[in-house]
Each structure stands twice: as structure tokens, then as C-alpha cells.
């Protein structure tokens, strides 16, 4: 390293003078840059892109199948399936409904379960912590990353649905569940609203995934556990014997977005869902904090 030895003296002074000014605005800039780094890493990663592509493939698959087949009698298959041939905008809505029970929770499980355990699995957790990232800050940044994915995932379904629907089918005014007719622009807004509803729906599950992720150094374990819980919650929600439990299950309002397709828009379900999810965020956020702040990092 003779070559580098020559530059080292001068270079390390530079680092001292410009790299270590711990003033408050700088720290804030630096916190933003950690979040930016997390988001960049998440969305540039091949696995994340594959998950989003798989989600986007749902409406494409639906649209292509509908386009290539003869008309389906109404009332069979997922909701709105029979309306697609008349109006391509229904592709996105149908796909969003199809994705709710399994595909969306599956991808969220992968991302949220990976947050801390993935870093532990790579051994990079110890280097983030000695950087020092700060345990609470790391947890927050990781959760915000998972939330960003919760925004991206339903959006990928909705936008791919709108795109393929417009490409393969006619697009026109849409009749809402209340019987009112809205123009395609407003219909698109409603679809984005459903995507937003699903983003909110997934926040609680993300918090659960984050907590599970602090329990293990094996990311696949945290991912699988998160996904299993999402299925379990939906199964419990089906059992009439557990009626008292239903309003507390994080998946309880997952399908409650029909009111967004009425005129005027009904926000009750949206609000209940948001409050329930906030509760899950509070509880599992606290658990994740309690666990992670005192955890021995031995990975």
C-alpha cells in the first residue's frame, strides 16, 4: 500500500475537517440521507423489483385471460370480472381485490420480515450499529422503508391494471355501486383511493413483520411467520364463534373498501381501518422497540 500511504496524511485531514462537523442541520441532512439510502437499497434491489413485477402481473394476467376468452356469466369469479370487457378500468379494481388476501400480504411479509433480520443475516447489522446508526433510528428508517413498500405494492397493481385495461379494452364512464355514473378520470381516482386504502390496511402487518424481524437472525423465518399470521388472521375472521375477536383482527377491514365506490364516498370503514392499524403500529412498534433496543447483536 505504498501508493496509498502517500495520500493518507493529507486525506485524513480532509475527512476530519469536512466529515465531522456535528452541527444540528448536518445531522438532519444525514438522517435524510440514511432514509434515502434505505429506500434506494430497497427499491433498487432485484428482489423488491421482482415482487412489484409479480404484483403488476396480476392485472396483466387477468386482462389477457379475459381478452382471450368468451364472456363470463355475471356473478362468477372475482367481483367486477364480468364488467372488464365493457370497461378496461375494471381490470385494476378486480386485480386489487384479487391481491388482497394473499399476494399483497405475501410481498409485505417478505419486505417487513427482512427489515432487521435481513441485516442480521448479512452481518451488516453490527456495522450499521457501530456506524453508529442508532437503534431507534434504524428501526424507524426500516419501518418507513416497509411503509414505502406498502404504498408501492397496491399502486403497482392499480397502475398496471389501468395500463393494461386501457390497452386491451374500451375505456368509458363507470357506474358506481351507488348507481351514479362517473367519468374515467374520477374512476381512476377511486381506484387510487382503493390502493391507498390497502396501503393503510398493510401498515399493521408491516409493524408485526418488523417486530418478528427483531427476534431472529434468519430473515426467511420472520418473513414466513409474518405471512402465516396474515393468513391466520383472515381464517379467524371467518369463524363465527370468534365474533368478539373479529374487530381486533388486523385483517378485519381488508375488504372494506366498497364504500369508496359510492357517491358520496363513505369514510367510516376507512377510518375504522386506520385506527385499528394505528393500534397495531403502536403495539408492535413498542414491542419491536423493547426487543431491539436491548438486544445483543451477535450475528
Amino acid at each position: 500500500m505504498s501508493r496509498s500511504d502517500q495520500v493518507s496524511e493529507h486525506g485524513s485531514r480532509t475527512a476530519k475537517e469536512s466529515g465531522r462537523e456535528g452541527s444540528v442541520p448536518r445531522q438532519r441532512a444525514s438522517s435524510r440521507s440514511f432514509l434515502a439510502s434505505e429506500l434506494k437499497q430497497l427499491f433498487r434491489r432485484g428482489r423488491t423489483q421482482a415482487l412489484l413485477l409479480a404484483l403488476a402481473a396480476i392485472p396483466v394476467m387477468i386482462a389477457v385471460v379475459v381478452r382471450l376468452s368468451t364472456a363470463v356469466p355475471p356473478g362468477r369469479g372475482p367481483a367486477f370480472l364480468d364488467r372488464i370487457t365493457q370497461n378496461g378500468l375494471f381490470v385494476g379494481v378486480t386485480a386489487l381485490i384479487v391481491a388482497v388476501p394473499l399476494f399483497l400480504p405475501l410481498t409485505i411479509g417478505v419486505v417487513a420480515g427482512d427489515t432487521i433480520a435481513g441485516e442480521a443475516g448479512h452481518g451488516t447489522l453490527r456495522y450499521l450499529l457501530v456506524a453508529p446508526a442508532g437503534r431507534v433510528r434504524l428501526l424507524l428508517v426500516k419501518y418507513v422503508g416497509a411503509v414505502a413498500f406498502c404504498v408501492a405494492a397496491p399502486l403497482a397493481v392499480a397502475l398496471a391494471g389501468a395500463g393494461i385495461g386501457a390497452a386491451l379494452f374500451p375505456v368509458g364512464p363507470v357506474t358506481l355501486l351507488s348507481g351514479d355514473v362517473v367519468q374515467p378520470g374520477e374512476a381512476l381516482n377511486r381506484m387510487l383511493l382503493i390502493a391507498a386504502y390497502q396501503t393503510v390496511s398493510l401498515l399493521g402487518l408491516s409493524a408485526i413483520g418488523l417486530f418478528l424481524s427483531t427476534l431472529t437472525d434468519v430473515p426467511v423465518g420472520a418473513m414466513a411467520a409474518t405471512i402465516v399470521l396474515s393468513v391466520a388472521s383472515q381464517v379467524l375472521d371467518q369463524l363465527p364463534q370468534l365474533e368478539w375477536l373479529h374487530p381486533w383482527l388486523f385483517s378485519h377491514y381488508w375488504f372494506g373498501f366498497a364504500d369508496l365506490l359510492r357517491q358520496p364516498i363513505g369514510w367510516d370503514s376507512f377510518t375504522s381501518n386506520a385506527m385499528l392499524q394505528a393500534g397495531y403500529i403502536a403495539v408492535f412498534g413498542a414491542l419491536a422497540y423493547g426487543r431491539f433496543v436491548s438486544k445483543d447483536v451477535l450475528s
Binding site: M1, S8, S30, Q41, G123, D296
Partner: protein
């Protein structure tokens, strides 16, 4: 000396530091004192508790008992103030395999809330250059060799100006050339004024660069101090070749030795003995324990005093005076390696 006095000049100070994993005490009440500005070798066989100690120092793991001060501040209480001044390599390098070397360093630097984003690019480039990895900066870490990862790990420790570097087995996986480069890098860091704490299970790899060392064995700190003192603490061995074994033994016994007579090739006897006064054991806090080989009580005391002063030439003179034909005479001081092996049992055995 109060603990405040002691703490003033110490980059690392641990007091009764312990870590228990289940039934096993991985680190057993160690009192490390690493002077500021030293290059401190933290030696011990695999499994002796070096990495666990380092994890506790850096606030990655909580101590079961005892305390740590880094750069005069309590850990982990003052972690946020201390760690920005500390560069570390812990239990080998670890990176995101799907990112390039430079992108990995950007990521870790972004995690440091005290590091300025404005100078990040320049500092990453400089750190990569310093470890000789500039050419591979854009390569995915997945495609790095172990040696390259090790260098990248060291580069990560050098992203900002550091007061203290804690390098856990930095030469692991490096070829002899790489090992030499790491040594010269450590020297240059020390020359810049940093304290370098470097752990290794291979004494030879750090012996040449250290000013101080500590030796761990099965979770205990068995010796610590300036390297010169540790070396002296090794026992010196006398080796005498003579046909007059009986007479020679008599002389050596007068000097307070317990000679061992061997006849390796039949003709001359080879007599070996520990040289008295050479076995001053070092206590873990670094002070020399005087009179390690001294006898106790009665007439033995005077003999022992004489023996402590016995210079090799005096022994030879006495032998010659008694008519012993000295055909070979040597005093061999044990290397630090011998001492390391003596203190830790078999040097390369994995401790439980």
C-alpha cells in the same frame, strides 16, 4: 493511582468486564487498559473471548457484569458520542453482496448520523484507495475474494477520521502480501495518532507492529502490558554441553537452579535449566511480579538473592573454576510466541 488518573491516558478501559452465554463465561472479569496512542495486540486462541469482548466494547452486546470506557466515556451510555470516533472491524467483514464495494461504504457512511453527506464520495474514494481497492470499487461484493472483503472491511473502519480503531482479526484470509499491507496500514494509522486495538489468534502477525499486548485464555486476561515487558517475562533457558555432568550440576545447583541432564548423542551431556530470576511473571494489570523464581526462608534466601543476580558470564566463570569442561553454553530467552503458548495452553487449540 485513582481510577480517574488511570482513565485519563486510556483509549479503552474495562473493569471486571464479563459475558455469560448460558452456563459458559465467555469473558471472565477482564480489566483491560489500552493506553492512548498505542498499537495494542489483543491475543488469544480461537474461542478465548476476543470478539465477545469487542462486541461489548462497541455496545453491540450488553455486559453481564463490569463496565467499559472508550476514549474516556462510558459505553454504551455515551455510544452516540463515542462511536463516530471509532472505526471497527468485528468478527470479519460483512457486506451486502448485491451492492458494489463503493455502494456498501456509502451505505454504512449514510448510517452514521455524524458523517457529512457532502464529503461522502471523497471519503469513500479515499478509504478505498487507502486499502488498495480503488480498481474494484464498482464491482459487486459478491464477486470479491475473502481478502478483498477484509480490505473493504478495513476501508469501512477508515471512512472518517478515527481516534480509535478496533480491528478484530484484520489479517484473517489475507495472503502474506495482504498481511504485510495491513501491518503497514496499521503503522500509518498509528503514525496519524490513532490508537489501534487489533485482535488476533496469530501472535506472529501482530507482534511486529504492537507496542502493547494482552493475552486472553478461555475468557480470562492472563497477561497484559508493554510488549517489551511481556517479552522479558518469558523465562530464559540455559543450555550447557559438557562431559563433566556431575560437576556441572553441582555448580548450577549452587546458583539455585534445577538442572536437567540429558545425553542426546551419548558423548557429552546436555544440561538445560531455567535461568533464575528470568521468570518474573506478569500479572494481568501489567506490573511485574518481582522475585518470581526466588526461594523463601532460611539460607535459601541468600542463595536466591545471588541467583537473581547471576549473569551468564558468572555462571561460566564458576563452571570453569570448578574444572568443568564447557563445550557449549547458551542462554536462550523465550520468544513472545513461547510465552503465548505457555499462557494459553496449546496455541492453536480452540478453547471451549
Amino acid at each position: 493511582m485513582t481510577s480517574a488518573d488511570r482513565g485519563a491516558g486510556l483509549a479503552i478501559e474495562t473493569t471486571g468486564l464479563s459475558k455469560r452465554f448460558g452456563h459458559q463465561l465467555a469473558v471472565n472479569s477482564i480489566d483491560l487498559a489500552v493506553p492512548q496512542g498505542s498499537v495494542f495486540g489483543f491475543l488469544g486462541p480461537n474461542g478465548s473471548g476476543k470478539t465477545t469482548t469487542i462486541r461489548m466494547m462497541l455496545g453491540l452486546a450488553a455486559a453481564t457484569a463490569g463496565s467499559v470506557r472508550l476514549l474516556g466515556q462510558d459505553m454504551p451510555g455515551k455510544l452516540d458520542e463515542v462511536l463516530p470516533q471509532v472505526g471497527a472491524l468485528v468478527e470479519g467483514p460483512a457486506f451486502y453482496p448485491f451492492l458494489s464495494g463503493a455502494a456498501n461504504l456509502h451505505r454504512f457512511d449514510a448510517a452514521d448520523r455524524h458523517a457529512s453527506p457532502g464529503t461522502r464520495r471523497a471519503r469513500v474514494a479515499e478509504a478505498l484507495d487507502r486499502v488498495g481497492l480503488s480498481h474494484a470499487a464498482r464491482k459487486k461484493v459478491r464477486a470479491y475474494s475473502l481478502g478483498m472483503k477484509q480490505r473493504l472491511g478495513i476501508a469501512n473502519a477508515l471512512l472518517s477520521r478515527r481516534e480509535l480503531l478496533i480491528l478484530d482479526e484484520p489479517t484473517n484470509g489475507l495472503d502474506p502480501q495482504g498481511t504485510r499491507e495491513v501491518r503497514s496500514l496499521v503503522r500509518s494509522l498509528a503514525a496519524d495518532g490513532a490508537t489501534v486495538f487489533v485482535s488476533s489468534h496469530l501472535l506472529a502477525e501482530v507482534e511486529q507492529i504492537c507496542t502493547h499486548a494482552a493475552i486472553m485464555s478461555v475468557g480470562r486476561l492472563v497477561a497484559q502490558g508493554p510488549l517489551a515487558e511481556l517479552r522479558q517475562a518469558g523465562t530464559a533457558q540455559l543450555r550447557l554441553i559438557t562431559p563433566d555432568a556431575g560437576a556441572a550440576s553441582g555448580v548450577l545447583v549452587r546458583f539455585g537452579m534445577t538442572p536437567v541432564i540429558g545425553h542426546p548423542d551419548g558423548a557429552d551431556a546436555v544440561i538445560t535449566s531455567v535461568l533464575p530470576g528470568s521468570a518474573g511473571a506478569l500479572s494481568p494489570n501489567g506490573s511485574r511480579n518481582p522475585g518470581g523464581a526466588g526461594g523463601t526462608g532460611g539460607t535459601g534466601e541468600r542463595d536466591a538473592a545471588a541467583a537473581l543476580e547471576a549473569a551468564p558470564e558468572a555462571i561460566v566463570a564458576a563452571l570453569v573454576a570448578d574444572g568443568v569442561r564447557v563445550r557449549g553454553f547458551a542462554v536462550e530467552r523465550g520468544s513472545l510466541e513461547d510465552r503465548f503458548v505457555a499462557l494459553t495452553g496449546e496455541g492453536f487449540d480452540v478453547a471451549q
